[in-house]
Amino acid sequence: MSSFALYQGLANGIVTGCVYALIALSLVIIFKSTDVINFAGGEVVMVGAYLGMAALVYFELNYVLVFLFGAVGMFVIGALFDRIVLHKVLGRATPGQSILVAMVIATVGLGFAMKGTVRLFHYTEEVRRLTPAFRGPPIELGPVFLQRQDVAIVVIAVLLMLALFLFFQFTFIGKALRATSQNPKAAMLVGVPVQVMRLLIWGIACALAGVAGILIGGKLPMSVDMGGNVIILSFAAAVIGGFTNLPGAVFGGIMLGIIQNLVGITISSQAIAVAPFVVIMLVLTIRPQGLFGGQVRIKKV
């Protein structure tokens, strides 16, 4: 295999990897704060993409507003889900395993409900593609040719991750969110409104995934089922990062994007499908806390 193909595969991998990273971040943010795995992750991405499409085609907004529309829209949906559904589920006391199960099933339900709702619009029956924001000849970066759209994806993704980092590190709300995720009881005692924090977490996570959806929508064919394709890779990315580590999730996402592309080039396209599962099983068997997670927590007796 020529080195050109290798570099191209790498570059393409980084592009898709950035998107997986965003979605993985979305999953990890929720898990870190609430111990819930959001099984609607893929559908959130899908709805984000369709919101973007609605903004672009129906409302004919420019692309900046499209992103805003998608992000805000998904934020609202995520926050509403938390406020209406999760709040109620949590309120039903009986602590322990059963509440987590209930919440996870609720997210599964959310996924199906989202799919079902989007399907109601006849517009979505056909597979479509978002018109790319950036048209024109591909940019040449060293040995590699990148579509302008792809460069935009990487730039936007990196900007978002930076913004997230700054938010969590330096703003008051960001720090309160981190405190809540590390120790909800202590946070409550100090006066942090835990419920509001959880709502914000869901909103931010869904907004992230929504933007990822708009980014994907320009590259891959959009359909109501598109969530299923991306979610498993994002799960694998989150697992690599130990599911509790944000930079780990980013690393995992980009890694997987690269692996996916290289596997597709070197082994077979069929192997691509199973690669994420193998990765998940291997990482969890050998090092459950992922490459970046700390010591696995032991419960004190």
């Binding site: 898990f31 111990d35 795995i37 559904v85 109620k88 589920v89 039903r92 009986t94 395993q97 059963s98 509440i99 987590l100 199960v101 209930a102 919440m103 099933i105 609720a106 599964v108 339900g109 959310l110 996924g111 199906f112 409900a113 989202m114 799919k115 079902g116 709702t117 399907r119 109601l120 299923g228 498993i232 799960f235 694998a236 697992v239 599911f243 069929q270 499908a273 199973v274 994420p276 599962f277 193998v278 998940i280 099983m281 969890l284 068997t285 459950p288 696995v296 007796v301």
Partner: protein, 318 residues
């Protein structure tokens, strides 16, 4: 959870056996098909509940074992003419063995990680079903050949119904005995508190592996049952949709309780059919209704329908 199941609880199973032989005379083929499907799901769901609800291990490799049992039974029949009565137990045994193998590394994982790893295994298994075309014929699937059960060739739903009913009744009875036995208590203890279990002399790891193996056997049995009344098996059956469906059945019905699981099977199993008769273009609404059922049940009955009914009953007593 001790002693043995009372006669009162075993009687409905006897009724099931009777129904199994009598109903086919009076009822249309289509309803018998539905019955077969529900009974198969019952066995599948109970198997998953043993692992999740009884032993408290959140593992989702179930569809892999379902598939193994199914393909094994079907292929043993097609390739070597092995009759169902031998093929199904063999398939279940194979599924149980694979489950045990998986359990060895899996039981070292906890919670989230266990769920993810086992789910990844299930998807990996589906990929194998799709790719190992030499054996499974890949995505094209395998055409099931009617099998003989004690001399009678089972070709139709009418003929399959009594056999499926017998298997289901036996499985439920065995489950009732198991849940009230020392093993059932051990599993529940592991679910409730591993520390107490260990301090009480229970080998926690062994119990977890046993629960895994059992769930695999149940899934394998369900896989065998599948071959009795379906004409065709392909990898589609053993993927995400199925595992979510079975999981929903046990959670919506009532995790860890036999009546709950059966309620969940009936409700979620019949849902597509109900939608079909009530709303003509049901396909469109199916996912939405399904999602709403899950959300609403978790909001108002997080312990499942049976948990809700029981809780209500206790409150009334006070």
């Amino acid at each position: 959870m001790y002693g043995s199941p009372s006669l009162g609880r075993l009687l409905p199973l006897l009724a099931l056996l009777v129904v199994g032989f009598v109903l086919p005379r009076y009822v249309a083929e289509y309803y018998l098909y539905l019955g077969n499907v529900l009974m198969m799901y019952a066995v599948l769901a109970i198997g998953l509940d043993i692992l999740l609800g009884q032993a408290g291990q959140f593992a989702f490799a179930h569809t892999a074992f379902f598939g193994i049992g199914c393909y094994a039974t079907a292929l043993l029949n097609i390739r070597w003419g092995v009759p169902f009565v031998i093929g199904m137990p063999l398939g279940a045994l194979l599924a149980g063995m694979v489950a045990t193998l998986i359990a060895l590394p899996a039981t070292r994982l906890r919670d989230v990680y266990l769920g993810l790893a086992t789910y990844a295994f299930a998807e990996g298994a589906q990929w194998v079903f799709n790719s190992w075309t030499a054996v499974t014929n890949g995505a094209d699937g395998v055409r099931i050949q009617p099998s003989s059960v004690f001399g009678i060739v089972v070709r139709t739903d009418t003929q399959a119904f009594p056999v499926v009913a017998i298997i289901t009744a036996l499985v439920i009875a065995a489950t009732m005995y198991m849940m009230t036995s020392r093993l059932g208590r051990d599993m529940a203890a592991v679910r409730e508190s591993e520390h107490v279990a260990m301090a009480s002399g229970i080998d926690v790891r062994r119990v977890k592996i046993t629960a895994f193996a059992l769930s695999g056997v149940y899934a394998g049995i369900a896989g065998g049952m599948f071959t009795l009344f379906q004409s065709f098996v392909n990898p589609e059956q053993f993927g995400f949709v199925t595992i979510v469906l079975v999981l929903s059945m046990i959670v919506v019905g009532g995790l860890g309780t036999l009546p709950g699981v059966l309620i969940g099977v009936v409700i979620l199993g019949l849902l597509p059919e109900v939608l079909r008769t009530v709303m003509r273009s049901f396909q469109i609404y199916q996912e939405l209704v399904y999602g709403l059922i899950l959300i609403l049940t978790m909001m108002f009955m997080p312990r499942g329908i049976w948990g809700f009914i029981r809780g209500h009953g206790q409150r009334k007593k006070k």
